[in-house]
Amino acid sequence: MLIDKEKCIGCGICVPYCPTGAISMSDKKATIDQVLCVECGNCIRPRVVRCSPQAIYEPYEQIKGTPREVRRYFSDPATVHGVTGVPGRGTEEVKTNDVTGRVCRGEVGIAIEMGRPCIGTTFAEVEKLTKALAPYGIEYEEGNPLTHLLEDRAKGVFKEVYKSESVLSAIVEFTVKLEHMAEILETIKGTAKELDTAFSLDLICCFEEDGSVPALPELERLGMKPRANAKVNLGMGRPYKIVREA
């Protein structure tokens, strides 16, 4: 985002709204630090920042096709990534799992939401995790824009041009067999100590016919008991899928 200095009246109303603290005042005009700005769009939403002279703008034509463009897809929920066609930073995950069968019985879906909450991340930080996960032969979600920034998916290496780009959060997302869950979660825990950012960790599981969740005892053993609030798919979607066909 950029400030039109001619239009800016120096009121400073935009300053507190920037989630990365990129906006400051200089010579009675607002200014945006382009290193910190993640192109989230907060400051140009007229119902969020009521900048009456509309002095803030997105120079989209300037960033289109450049590495910087990825910032908006991982920071602005109103953008839709060209490759995936899905709004937001990841897939529809558990939201439509009853229809997509993204995660079926006998499997778990793992999502590592790098930079969340409210710290942000670079792809160099994300790479620390994807490299650590390389020995497991993980197939990352095709429907997640992050997957398309990887140069070498098997080694978990990102394309060089994206590594220094900063975003609000980026999600490492994949599905594995339940029997591999424990070793992968242990690796994630171990790698967490090497990171310069934080991440929120998600685990998607299907309910069995009797309502049980087989992963729970193992999570307890790992010291990773789920928090008290979760996101439950009620199974109302059609067509319905819960078993992976051989």
Partner: protein, 217 residues
Amino acid sequence: MTHSLHRRGGEADLKNDYVLLVTAASGINHVGSKDKLRQVLEEVWKIGPTNIGSNETGTILSGVDIEEIRANLMDIPRVRCNFASKEKIRQAIERLLELDLGMSVTVSGPTMDILELCKEYGIKPHSVNFSLDIWGKKKKLPPEEALELLTMCGHSLISKILVEETVTKVREGKMSPAKAAIKIGHPCVCGIYNPDRAQAILARVAPHNEDSGGEGL
């Protein structure tokens, strides 16, 4: 992404915080789903959500009306809203069962309470996304009381600075907790931020002294 998951707060505090998402699955059942989602919008609106919105328009907290949200549903439509009581989410689930539209429904909130509601209505839930907490360099995180407000926007669009400044205004009596709760919620464009809960958090962390100043902003 799981923008409604990972809300921070004590168990008692999270009791009155439910996010309802009704979603068409891209490439599977989204074709022709717009009218169904419009119907869902109308029905949940009657129940009285504390917030509702869309990435395309913004939220009722920031001055958008339900007609604008309805008119701007995308080709792969989603309904996102927040209910501040178990009774209201119960009504929403009951109505969605009656409508039986074949769209995916998720409820984020206290797991045991959601499963209890499922049992009550004979629903066999399909799957669950658990929050396994925050890992990594946690010393970079803001204080827990700020996180309670910040994590109500899972897209991280609410800034720490906005929360700090607004809490200070409430503490100094320059703004009421009610107004502050709305102001902090403006950046959450999809409509899952819970202003009722935010007001309770603000009243707790920054008790408002009615005698110490005006309403400010």
